[in-house]
Amino acid sequence: MMIIRRLPTGLVRTNLTVSSCRMLRKRRFLHGSLATKIESSIESPSTPISGNEEQDQQSKFLEEYKIRTLLERPIYYYAEKELPKFSIERLYEQSHKLSPTFILQNAQETIEHLLTYNARRIKEFRNLPYLVVLNPSISESYSTYLQTMSSLLTASLNPPTTLAENETFAKTVLSEFIDAHADTLPSLSKGFNEVFDFISTDQITHFLDQHLKERISMRLIAHQHIQLTKALIGETPYEKGGKYNGVIKVLNIADVIKKNAELVNDILLLKYDQTVPIQIDTNLNPINYWSRQDPELMRPTEDELRHFPYIEYHLDYILTELFKNSFRSHIENKIEDPVQITISIATKPTSYLELRIRDKGKGIPPKVMNHIFDYSFTTWENNEGDSYKTLNVPPGLGGNVVAGMGYGLPLSKNYVEIFNDTLPDEDGIVTTKGSLSIQTYYGWGTDVYLKTVGQ
């Protein structure tokens, strides 16, 4: 008689032998699967019940499954959060409010904001086609973002609660964050150059636009917190309630220009064994010189003409890129005249900084002008003339990490336009706070206009 009893624990007791199992299976009295299991267990009585091994494997799989599905969720969660409002006012406000309590609150906010930006970047990478992310240069960039997300998540578990902790936080987590992402651009550029077969130009442009803009914002947020921290602990000048405790400092524009011109000339000396002179002029007469008011009281001081509050490393980057272009055009066309830089600054009643960089480097051909703010890969595709190539992809300008990529102009544009309002105000006006534009005179030279406001 066939006995099969299923016990409450899930065990089964049977008095069957292998052969009887088989016979019963044939006669359809036993489920196929049941028969197989009984058979295989009976046939190998010495081997341990394979059920255990299988359960181990299943447990392990379940553990891994749980972890796997956990991983993507914070990315979606943070990526959906709203981006913080970006404006010069906000930066001033933070500087104004700076105090030991404020800095701790700011630390937490900084972590949350950075997590949002970081998650968005990861999400965008994951939207690229599979093969594109398999490209080693692009995956390198992607991995950096995974890394920093990891470290930010850990930091978010223990936000700083004292000034000392905040200092550590700024000097480790934030500085590492900035360093990790400092060098991602050359990799990305190389990577995108290699994958343009697998992804449309539009997709690349869209990705890079967003990527570079958000990158600037991320780094600005991190830098701001580091600056505020430094001010508070006295490493840099601190004025309680003042405007210039953060990344925005009052800069001597003429000095900044001279510094960057020297930097570019050093590089050119290495490559071409030549340098290019510059000539700086400013508005000699104040805007309301002809007003009826007493000129003595209205005349801006020398100081005011040359000083303007802005973010130094942004200005450095933009000027370096623009000078590279202008100086090189002089050298390649054997022009000995200086490059002329005109500064116009006002602080009252409105505040603005206007720069014009004028060169005599024979200008830019019209075909190239259409693509002047595109990313470098498009030139290779379109096979534009040499002058464009040299403009955006200068050969052998070592020493500067960003050289040779063709991202200089578009990135500069992004830097100066970062504070532009994207939404119209009550009057329906979308205010422009910064802009970069180029007017070329083909055959003669090029004028570049750089404008920004103080608030």
Partner: protein, 478 residues
Amino acid sequence: MKPRIAIRLKSTYSPITSHSYIYQDFLSKAGKEEIAKHLKNLGPFPTYSSILNPQHFYQNEVLMEYSKKGPHPVSLRQLAGYGNKLTKQKIINSANFVRIELAIRLAMRIRDLQTLPFGVVNNFHFSQIYESYYHSFNAFRKIPPIHTLQDNSQFCETLSTMLDDHVFNLPHLMMGALEVSILKNLPQNELDQFMSTMIRSRISRRVIVEEHLSLSENYRSNPYDTKPPHYLGEIFQNCNAADHFRIVADVIKSSMIDIYPDINKMPDLEIEGDLSTSFPFMVPHLHYLLGEILRNSFEATIKTHGPKTSKKLPPITVTIINLKREVTFRISDRGGGISHDQLKGIWSFGKNPELARKSLANFHRIPGLQLYSNLKVTASGSSIVNNPTSTQDSAKVLNQTSLSDTEHSTKKKKSTLENLTTRPFEYKLGLGLPMSQIYAYYWNGDLSMNSLEGYGSDTSLTLSKLGYHSNVTQLDRA
């Protein structure tokens, strides 16, 4: 006295239950710690993979070459034997055709995977599939041209092993689809499109391979055999519709004993229409299609009426409509029907997260499921095909479900009926209808469903009569 033996019934004990998938709070301290530790696993190069590494991108050039060639659309008759008499040359031609075609078709599917978003293919299951396909592609393209019957035997061995290897892929394809639909990182229609292309291509590749295997076998055993002019190949048999319905229904009834022990009270199958209808078809595919449809009808009827009555359950009516070029079946049940909203979603591979998690739980419990591809490579990194013994296990695994039944149709391989018989009811994977639809469409047929909510459902299955279409290029769904 016969010894008493205690064994564990695997299907009732598993560390995985439907409670295993409750969402963990990812914002908690423990959650964030785990995530921070493992976030690098979202990167593109998993440690266990031999193919996914930084050089892969550059080595991919080879595949690009293959994917630019088009697949050769073929008709069934071409495949079945190039005419009446088999000759040695025909066999060799067929072998080389298979060799080149498969490399091209695999390359095209790999390209599909490469163009999907990274976040989707990075999924654990899909990346296993990617690896498996790439591995096969590499192995295939290296096979040298076939010149002799000896070469062909060798080739058939390799083909056979590869068929077994790819049995591994189907559950992973489906689990990947389920996970992706939980995370919603691919729109539903794109997911469905992708799944149909993959599965369709898979069917066509396997038919090509199985035809060649059966051709070679025939030639080996009967070299002077002549075939009738409309011969479609060994893998196609003349099927009497009514008979097959009854066979499949019996099988399903036995698998339902667990939930409804009285087999005599189960619904009867009433068949009307042209009972003599016969047509050539691949038996495993036919059984799979009928099986899925009947299973749904039986299940619905049992669940709706079983608890309410002790009388015999209402029958399931099958109407057979025989036309010149096609045959249609209407399967009507009184199983309570489904709502319109449900009806809209049943054909999709993308399930709502709740359902997807239940199906995944069942998948994960399938005993012996091979979780990692055991792809072998030589010391220098070239892919080699596994030796036959190790892949028998993966084939056995799917005996528990209906997935393997469509894989083996030649006499060399196991027959499918046994596999259908042994499928226990509880391994409900939830993807039977979308899969069946792909099979129906593949053979130029149709599968659709109507329902009267509260009363019952009617499923309509149309199949082309292959004999009439055997000259039409059939397998151009590469």
